[in-house]
Symmetry: C2
Subunit: 339 residues, 2 copies
DNA sequence: CCTGCATCTGGGAGCGCTCCCAGAACCGCC
DNA sequence: GGCGGTTCTGGGAGCGCTCCCAGATGCAGG
């Protein structure tokens, strides 16, 4: 029994090579999808792999090769709180789906506020081939810093301090614009908005959409209150709006989670929804359908967002040419009872 | 310029050894926290690591060593839908927090319904040292299968088909019991429950707690309707309860997300909450605080749940003795307006 | 015929670590 | 003084791959 130390079970690349009747170089070529392999060899290798149930050692591939075979998903702790948990889980599902079948591992990095340097060092230290950066807060310099070191990255959500960093985002502007046009088509004439924070692109873009929608029809764009993506701040914002304009007949709220608070305040003030005041939210989160009344909102495909992010990064890693610098994903209005 | 092919940047273990004035064997011992290293050497190595900014290659460690330096987090796709997204994201945060600082990577596996075999093959193929299995549905054989192959695993949430598999769970029974006792202390006399599905331990345990609470005071335990952790099914269940017992004065709902639906039905029926009917939920999810009225509920520390899961697995991997086979985490009642 | 180029193949060095082994140094004990 | 033990150390094989190189083959053109 020359057993040696305990090792991973299962066949090695050499066994596959022997069974397929080729060299391990050729097996390696097939696994990595290189050209210059005859169809005969390719088939033989695939058969041998299936027969033996071979699965290559990630560690060995990474050590021997010039790639890390891994990408990072970087989530800023503050940010993930702002955009709430369901969002994040769905993004993750999308990322995971897009990675399926490829030999690429996903590393999660949830950064605490202070460990920015360690993180940059780790990311640029060759442990990953690229990074997905999501839920950035304000003008976080992380994407630019990483991009300047040459690490391929894609940012989820338009970064404010972005420079030329590629990003993927929902089309917040047109989503908001569509919501306002819809409210106008309903005959609403005094349309307010509870906007997100001004230090995030998602807040600014939805606000711009609202503004444009009103401007198209020559309506006043004054009824704005900023809020911070929490139900309580949404409630406070609604109170202020009612003080300033007791006769408003519609509100576009830049996030479902704030709309919840707004709904409560409107109802407590005795107004009927949508008869007296129509409410449109944004995100179509799980909260929207269960709100009372169910919330009309602008839907974005969060899982698709995660998939697109990942696709874009992988394409860049694969050396694809002519990739779009950035991408905006479509949104759609979901009509429920609140408007 | 003997540059060779492009490789990971940064120092190697040999540089650290040279700077510290020891051999690379000793550096390796320090990194892995082995004994039989003099204090002098240990300090020297730590200084050298800090000076050079050394970070060991995960791939090389894994390839050379007898461990994979990675654990898997397995989430069944159906299950994560059942228990809703926020739960999952919080668990993940806890897992991540517990892993911080250790040289262990986290692999996410979200299994589609059909790829059970591949998954087992991968997990037992030496790619990971152990697995965390969460949000199991019904009598999924996965934990037992894995456990029987000898792979260290910990299940999150008591598995029904568990056998002797270690698990961590919230103390659902006592949480429910406490909720019912609280309702009784309020003077409620006809306390119904909307229970979870019977094929999940979380559903059964919360139901048992409710039963015991009533039995303690000799109250009838008949007003049960089962539901499936969605708001709509919660609403339907509430309707049925009201039909069967229009004079009920309290409901214990086994999940906040179902309580949302129940709240709506109660209000539509003209009942005041909590004056006519008191409602207590379970989970203290983000939904609870924003409900109308804010929901009194049983809180479980989901992030702590993730941390405990991970801690238990790592302890087992470290070869610790006398580990508890399973653990129940405390719950606490959060009093808001609904009861 | 030889030469060039594209296609295909195998051999083998070596990625950066861990872990086994052999041995040095030091202790107290007979 | 020798001897067994414990503590500490360095050397070096080798984990399972990738990728470079050298070479074999086939086929067109000079």
């Amino acid at each position: 029994m020359t057993e040696g130390r305990s090792r991973r079970p299962g066949p090695r690349i050499e066994e596959v090579a022997r069974v397929a009747g080729v060299s391990k170089s050729t097996v390696s070529r097939v696994i990595n999808g290189e050209k210059y392999v005859s169809e005969r060899s390719r088939q033989a290798v695939h058969r041998a792999i299936a027969l033996l149930g071979y699965s290559p050692s990630h560690a060995a591939r990474t050590l021997a090769g010039s790639r890390a075979n891994a990408i990072a998903l970087v989530i800023s702790e503050q940010g993930s709180r702002v955009l709430a948990d369901p969002f994040f889980a769905q993004v993750l599902r999308g990322v995971h789906a897009e990675l399926a079948g490829r030999h690429v591992q996903l590393l999660l990095m949830m950064n605490r506020p202070h460990d920015g340097e360690d993180q940059v060092a780790y990311l640029t230290g060759g442990h990953v081939d690229g990074a997905l950066v999501v839920s950035l807060h304000g003008d976080d310099p992380l994407p630019r810093t990483l991009h300047e070191t040459g690490l391929p990255i894609v940012v989820g959500g338009r970064p404010l301090a972005g420079g030329a960093v590629p990003f993927v985002d929902a089309d917040n502007f047109n989503g908001a614009l569509g919501a306002v046009r819809f409210l106008i088509s309903l005959g609403r004439e005094k349309i307010a908005t509870i906007a997100g924070p001004l230090d995030m692109a998602v807040g600014m873009d939805r606000l711009s959409g609202w503004r444009c929608g009103l401007a198209e029809h020559g309506m006043a764009v004054e009824l704005v209150v900023h809020s911070d993506f929490t139900p309580d701040s949404g409630a406070l914002a609604m109170e202020e709006l009612l003080r300033r304009a007791p006769d408003l007949d519609a509100v576009f709220v830049a996030a479902d989670i704030m709309a919840l608070g707004a709904l409560r305040v409107l109802q407590e003030s005795g107004r009927r929804i949508p008869d007296d005041v129509a409410v449109v939210g944004f995100d179509d989160s799980v909260l929207a359908a269960t709100a009372v009344p169910p919330l009309t909102t602008v839907r974005q495909d969060v899982e698709g967002f995660g998939r697109t992010l990942t696709w874009r990064l992988l394409a860049e890693l694969a050396g694809e040419e002519k990739l779009p610098q950035s991408m905006l994903l479509p949104t759609s209005l979901v009509r429920r009872a609140s408007a």
